[in-house]
Amino acid sequence: MSVIPLGDRDVAPLAPRCWRFWTLDDDQTMTADTADQRPPVQTVRKPFFRKRSAIPGFGLTMGVTLTILSLLVLIPLSAVVLKAAQQSPAEFWAVATSERAMAAYRLSFGAAFVAAAINGVFGVLTAWVLVRYEFPLKTLVNALVDLPFALPTAVAGIALATLYAPTGWVGQFLTPLGIKAAYNPVGVVIALIFIGLPFVVRTVEPVLRDAAADVEEAAASLGASRIQTIARIILPALGPAWLTGFAMAFARGVGEYGSVIFIAGNMPYRSEIAPLLIIIQLEQFEYTRAATIAVVMLAVSFLMLLIINAIQAWARRFD
């Protein structure tokens, strides 16, 4: 007869731990003596780390996961912090907040914010149209929204630079209007709109799809106009997903490099993004300076992750 494994630890005996306190009928009253004759029940410590499960393989898969995660992600990331820590806090501060670095942060964060905001509007609009309406080429439009996930960023970069250059297909119409798109901070925003669009669409879309029609019908039956229903019921319900998408687009935009450098112009103090500044420091063998700016950017990444998790925890309250 074979024994069925129930997990990779011993199974806890199924014994009540507080049998002494059972209420007994009068005629069955148990004396202390008889009680003591019962075999002592060993209390099994509640597992601290992992709850018991019948499914095997936890040790192996968890071990592989943690090992690879540590070796490839966590330890290398700590290298950049350690490198930056080789200087004194004052030096660190001076490099991290140098005028050129500040200009680069302003551009990276500012352009990422503006692009995420524009995507916030058009992303919701795109998701709305995809979920609610039927129109020709809908499958194509739906597939196209994911293009920024599939198209290499360098390709997007040279294509956008060519389009929005003063002589380009789109740029030639902007020049007479006094708008210089490419080789300018505007160009950075254009590239980051491209990069960030699917984040907003794909976070808002499932929420919109799952939103029950009865909530809208309830609003209408209570006398709300269509505009009131959209403004007071639908959009607020999308709020957490929209914020998540916005934060993800923003975080991606802050760190984006490939699509931006071709269209930005890369002028120090003016159109130089923070990731480019890291590369420039690196090419000048200024490893500590590069690490310093990288640490600032990592801190922002962590902050964004925390914010995204907080938004999602907050949103779960309403479900």
């Binding site: 393989g57 795109t126 290499p152 294509a159 789109v170 976070t203 590369i279």
Partner: protein, 285 residues
């Protein structure tokens, strides 16, 4: 609610003019941001005719870049697929403390700038890095060589498969596996015969996205590559070099190849979504 009579509009329906206006706005926006760039790549590549484009794409350096890109993806994608399966099995089929933290850490490479991703490996394996001297003494090259490119690619594509499988396997729960194990099946047998068939489409979906990113990664690879023509140039890096040398036909010809990769990815992805609607990604990448 399409059946609603023409005489009245349902409570969840918008007027026709609003629909047309909104659909039109989306089309204009997507044309400016997504469609025109795609068209521009092919137009620029074919500016001097198809022959010139094909010639440019068949330069030895370009072919070397294609080979390196395929090699990198061939290592990074299976590696991340195996990692993703391990992580998803541990996370989705078991309960333990710190699960949310672990998921966040696996997601971390998504929010790290690709340039920082490259930098960390330079700081470890570069000449002045932790192992710089030891590697030099033993004549092992990682930075400015293929291993560095693979490492950087693995980093930036790290979460793709895990991200896809964890929610999918969580949704499927553990009852099927528990049933198999209660009937005496081994863990590995249960995985192959019960779990794997349930997640194969989700796995394929994750692999597809992982592959697109692996072949297209620019920033991280750019930092560790050293841009040695014919040796450490991947396709995206080769595009950059040609573009900066004002060889636009060459740059856009290689870019057009990468566009085809993107189009194939999107077609497969859409086909997969239509055939298996429940694999649709639960959040953006």
């Amino acid at each position: 609610m399409g059946a609603a009579s023409s005489k009245a509009r349902g409570a969840t329906d918008d007027p026709a003019w609003a629909k047309i206006l909104l659909i039109g706005a989306v089309f204009v926006f997507l044309a400016l941001v997504l469609i025109l760039p795609l068209v521009a790549v092919f137009a620029e590549a074919l500016r001097k005719g198809l022959d010139a484009a094909i010639l440019a794409a068949r330069q030895p350096d370009a072919l070397a870049a294609v080979k390196l890109t395929l090699l990198t993806a061939a290592i990074a994608v299976p590696f991340n697929a195996v990692f993703g399966l391990c992580a998803a099995w541990a996370i989705a089929k078991h309960d333990f403390r710190g699960k949310a933290l672990l998921i966040t850490l696996i997601d971390l490479p998504f929010s790290v700038s690709p340039v920082v991703a490259g930098l960390i490996y330079v700081l470890i394996f570069g000449l002045q890095g932790w192992f710089g001297e030891w590697l030099l003494d033993n004549d092992i090259r990682i930075i400015f060589a293929v291993p560095g490119i693979v490492l950087a690619t693995v980093f930036v594509t790290f979460p793709f498969v895990a991200r896809e499988l964890i929610p999918l396997m969580q949704e499927q729960g553990t009852s099927e596996e528990e049933a198999a194990i209660s009937m005496g099946a081994s863990g590995l047998y249960t995985f192959w015969r019960v779990t794997a068939p349930n997640v194969r489409w989700g796995l394929l979906y994750g692999v597809l996205l992982c592959n697109a990113r692996a072949m297209g990664e620019f920033g991280a690879v750019s930092v560790v590559s050293g841009h040695i023509r014919g040796l450490t140039n991947t396709m995206p890096l080769h595009v950059e070099i040609l573009y900066n040398e004002y060889d636009f036909v060459g740059a856009f010809a290689v870019a057009a190849l990468l566009c085809l990769l993107a189009v194939v990815t999107l077609v497969l992805k859409t086909a997969l979504e239509i055939a298996q609607p429940d694999v649709r990604g639960r959040r953006g990448h």
